[in-house]
């Protein structure tokens, strides 16, 4: 089928390999990927900071840009949540209301799309090593996605999944929170990094670029060599197949 | 008038709200259990919170158990007890068997100090809640302090007082003609974990809670 990729501004600027991996993976599974090049930012930073008008403007833009009927795949639980749960309310009074609801209904986070929509848990990937999975908060609690990424990881040849202590605890990123309350954000990150290191994993996997930047920053600050990988990167890899 | 000010604010805040009626609270699944199963559940839950449950078959066995509890509590134990039929009978019989033991049936207003100085208080539970291991104690004609001030509390009760869950127990109390000024639910000994989450029993209330559960109360 045809799918539209919403790559997210964070991945676009700071982790484009996440977008490339998502495209590689979806194409390998036989899907046609469209990337509407007018896309920028979904508006979540403004929304979470209380700037509703600014958020609504960017939401309306995004609704227009993704007006094609194909499902929208987002390699981020957080941005997918923004579109699914917050766009309809934010735009309900304006002319974009119906389109926002329609977009919400066809927008999926990547792992959710693979397992729930496509029914795939084995995507023919191979990646050799021990990984631990961090539940990003919006993916887990707003979209209710807990098992899907783990089932996908279990389907990857060569991957050993080790659970960290409290994988569902927040990493402390929280968007603007990370810079508004930097000391608190870092203090929340500390036990998360410790529990990742304690697993002895080669890589920590998450489905949100924001969490991964936070985790990478904490791991590097401690001199850890544990890699931070988006789930898409593991699923796109065929290293040991 | 603050009353009118508050109520007016409440009315203004709720103006125009339509409120759907509240469904009645349905009986829980534990209601289906029979007496023996309720006793098993009660005993399990009560022990889990540190209550010492003694299951006895007869009044004679209950008196034996009570004698053992009194013996262990103190030499020449001072006992305060409710004047209810079962508590009075068992306490009287047990105390009579221990040299130097003293029994005070608390039938009228008694200084709290006198009750606090007892080694042991004996009450009779009106109901037992199987699902949570809870004793339900009414206040009418019974001193609330007997289950509170002495370091050890013993409740005697027959199996027929078992009910499945808290909802059932409170419903039975509501069905009674008289209302007490206070109904007390007791689930285990007095406890705290306020210092570094370390469990310590016997903060203000009893350190030890016994339940003597009789299979049959009838002679």
């Amino acid at each position: 089928m045809e799918v539209q990729l919403l790559v997210t501004c964070l991945a676009d600027q700071l982790a484009p390999e996440v977008g490339e991996a998502t495209v590689d993976l979806l194409e390998r599974l036989g899907h046609r990927v469209r990337f509407p090049e007018a896309q920028t930012c979904c508006g979540q930073p403004a929304f979470n900071d209380g700037f509703s008008a600014e958020a609504a403007a960017l939401a309306a833009r995004t609704v227009e840009i993704f007006s094609a009927p194909a499902p929208v795949v987002v390699p981020s639980g957080s941005c997918a949540t923004m579109i699914r749960h917050f766009y309809p309310g934010l735009l309900e009074r304006g002319p974009h209301g119906p389109a926002a609801r329609a977009l919400a209904a066809r927008t999926f986070e990547l792992s959710e799309f693979l397992v729930r929509v496509l029914g795939r848990t084995d995507v023919g990937a191979g990646w050799s090593g021990r990984v631990t999975y961090h539940d990003s908060c919006h993916l887990l609690r707003e979209l209710g996605v807990r098992d899907e990424p783990r089932r996908l990881l279990a389907g990857v040849a060569g991957v050993e999944l080790v659970e960290m202590a409290y994988p569902e605890h927040c990493c402390g990123f929280g968007g603007a929170f990370a810079v508004k309350f930097p000391e608190v954000s870092s203090a929340i990150l500390d036990p998360k990094v410790e529990s990742i290191i304690a697993t002895g994993a080669d890589a920590v996997v998450a489905n949100d670029t924001g969490c991964l930047l936070q985790l990478a920053g904490g791991l590097r600050r401690r001199g850890s060599t544990i890699r931070t990988l988006h789930l898409a990167e593991i699923l796109a890899s065929q290293a040991s197949r | 008038m603050p009353r009118e000010t508050i109520l007016n604010a409440v009315r203004a805040a709720l103006a125009g709200d339509r409120v759907p009626p509240l469904a009645p609270i349905a009986a829980g699944a534990a209601d289906a259990l029979d007496g023996a199963a309720l006793a098993v559940r009660f005993t399990h839950e009560a022990r889990a919170v540190g209550t010492i449950v003694h299951e006895v078959g007869s009044r004679a066995a209950a008196v034996d158990t009570l004698v053992a509890i009194l013996d262990a509590a103190a030499p020449a134990p001072r006992v305060v007890a409710w004047p209810t039929a079962l508590a009075r009978e068992l306490a009287t019989a047990a105390v009579a068997r221990i040299a130097g033991a003293d029994l005070r049936l608390v039938e009228r207003a008694t200084p709290a100090d006198a009750i606090a100085q007892a080694d042991l208080g004996i009450t009779e539970a009106d109901f037992l809640v199987a699902e949570s291991g809870t004793l339900v104690l009414r206040a009418r004609g019974r001193a609330r302090t007997v289950s509170l001030l002495p370091p050890t509390h013993v409740a005697v009760v027959g199996r027929e007082r078992l009910v499945a869950d808290l909802g059932a127990a409170l419903a039975r109390v509501r069905a009674m003609a008289d209302r007490d000024s206070c109904l007390t639910l007791i689930t285990g000994p007095s406890r705290t974990a306020d210092i570094e989450k370390k469990l310590v029993v016997g903060v203000h209330g009893p350190c030890t809670l016994h339940v003597v559960l009789l299979e049959r109360v009838e002679a």
Partner: protein, 476 residues
């Protein structure tokens, strides 16, 4: 009024975030509560349906407060109790003082009451020369320390056993006790004397039913029972939101409150008080007063979005679940109610001008909503406060510039894509000369606990064009 020090929230939060000893104490308690809570909820049949039912019970009660409050008053009065209404904290304190003065009370023993903390009752009693003694062990400890409680359920969560031992030695002249058991025994002995001598007991109220005028007091230590049994006067302090319609609503609420708060099936003691001692009763108080407190609650009630905050049972589960609370503790919030629910109700009870930062002190992770027994959607309420604060309270110009500027940049695909080389150049420059991060406050903030990410050599937009040779028909 209670000491409310909400202004310096940011500074206090930052300081607490660096206090690793505090983190250890908070983790030890909060994670233990969370784990126990998870276990008992897993063992509770139909837990989700029970939460729905508890929410429905509270929603119904809050939506019918206009009839339930007068009904409670009528019933409780008929039971022989005395009902007082207090518009705010000062009025509530004045009512309690008046009751104490009329009864000639010099010593008050207190069960745990968050409303009492909210209205600052102890300071008020002491100013009038009346000794007020907290009797919940945790509350007693923080009172001795001269501090407010830092957790709704575990007031002394921020103190270690050694801290408490030193405090008992310094303030009470106790020999240096080394164990929690010995410290607890000392408190038992010292407080027994207070219970015996007190003329008045003050408690909170966890639930009250309008149907019968019954007040429910939930506790573990027995100090609540002491306070509502031994003194000749019992004063119960209650926020008007604690009502439920019917007696049959107690059981479903009692099933969830202890499980959520401490992971217990039920607390050691639950007292259901309908009024003063009856003629045919042997003990209990001669007079029972019920103080109904508004103090901003009707503002929450009038607010259709925030109203659900009134469903709160004060179980403290959201504090334990909150990653922010577990790193800054309750004192940083500067108010009786801390953690996620505190950040929701403080702006309503105190006014947003006084707590403009609190609703932002959340990663919006949603763990609070997951554990809330009445499913209060705390993240949504925090977002709603943020929107109101953004509209009402002027923000730093830098933040406005950033958000508004981003809105215009992201509005235009051309501007957005033009930004890429600038981000890249800036990132490379900061990587080479880290001190430059100081010129950009967000970067400097990030670097405090983490390494900065590097911008990618080519953005995804650029890579996509590489892949498709610029053939995308949507390209403007």
């Amino acid at each position: 009024m209670a000491a409310i020090a909400t202004r310096d929230f940011r500074a206090r939060a930052a300081a607490a975030a660096g206090d690793t000893a505090l983190h250890r104490k908070l983790d030890a308690a909060s994670l233990r509560f969370l784990d126990k809570r998870a276990r008992v909820f897993a063992a509770l049949p139909d837990a989700d349906a029970r939460r729905d039912r508890a929410r429905a019970v509270k929603a119904h009660a809050i939506a019918t407060l206009d009839t339930l409050l007068p009904e409670l008053e009528r019933r409780f009065t008929a039971n022989g109790g005395i009902v007082h209404w207090a518009r705010d904290g000062a009025a509530a304190c004045a009512i309690v003082l008046d009751i104490a003065a009329r009864a000639g009370v010099r010593l008050v023993v207190k069960g745990k009451s968050m409303v009492s903390e909210e209205i600052g009752l102890n300071a008020c009693l002491e100013a009038a020369g009346i000794e007020a003694v907290e009797t919940d062990l945790g509350e007693y400890i923080v009172q001795l320390a001269g501090e407010p409680p830092s957790h709704i359920i575990t007031p002394a969560i921020h103190l270690s056993q050694d801290d408490v031992a030193a405090l008992f030695t310094a303030r009470l002249g106790e020999p240096l006790h080394s164990t929690a058991e010995a410290l607890t025994a000392a408190a038992r002995r010292l407080l027994r004397a207070k219970f015996r001598a007190a003329g008045m007991g003050v408690t909170g109220v966890n639930f009250a039913s309008a149907e019968s005028g019954t007040l429910v007091v939930v506790e573990n230590e027995g100090n609540g029972r002491m306070a509502l049994t031994l003194p000749r006067v019992h004063v119960a302090l209650m926020g008007i939101e604690k009502l439920v319609a019917r007696d049959e609503d107690f059981a479903p609420m009692l099933e969830l409150l202890p499980r959520s708060a401490t992971g217990q099936t039920l607390t050691s003691y639950v007292s259901l008080v309908t009024g003063p001692r009856r003629n045919d009763e042997i003990d209990g108080p001669e007079a029972v007063h019920l103080v109904l407190l508004d103090n901003g609650r009707t503002r929450l009630l009038a607010d259709p979005i925030m109203r659900e905050a009134l469903y709160c049972l004060r179980c403290g589960a959201c504090l334990n679940a909150c990653p922010v609370y577990r790193r800054i503790g309750g004192h940083a919030y500067g108010y009786a109610y801390s953690g996620p629910i505190g950040a929701v109700i403080a702006p309503a009870l105190l006014g947003i001008e006084r707590v403009p930062d609190l609703p932002f002190a959340s990663t919006l992770c949603g763990a609070c909503r997951d554990v809330c027994p009445v499913r209060i959607d705390i993240p949504r309420l925090l977002l709603a406060w943020r929107a109101r604060i953004a509209a009402a309270v002027p923000r730093a110009w830098g933040e406005r510039l950033l958000v508004r500027g981003w809105r215009w940049i992201a509005w235009s695909p051309r501007l957005y894509r033009a930004l890429t080389p600038i981000v890249r150049a800036g990132s490379a420059l900061v990587a080479r000369i880290p001190a430059l991060a100081r010129l950009a406050p967000p970067l400097a903030a990030w670097r405090r606990g983490r390494e900065l990410p590097r911008a990618a050599p080519r953005s995804f937009h650029e890579r996509w064009r590489d892949r498709r040779h610029g053939t995308d028909p949507d390209a403007p």
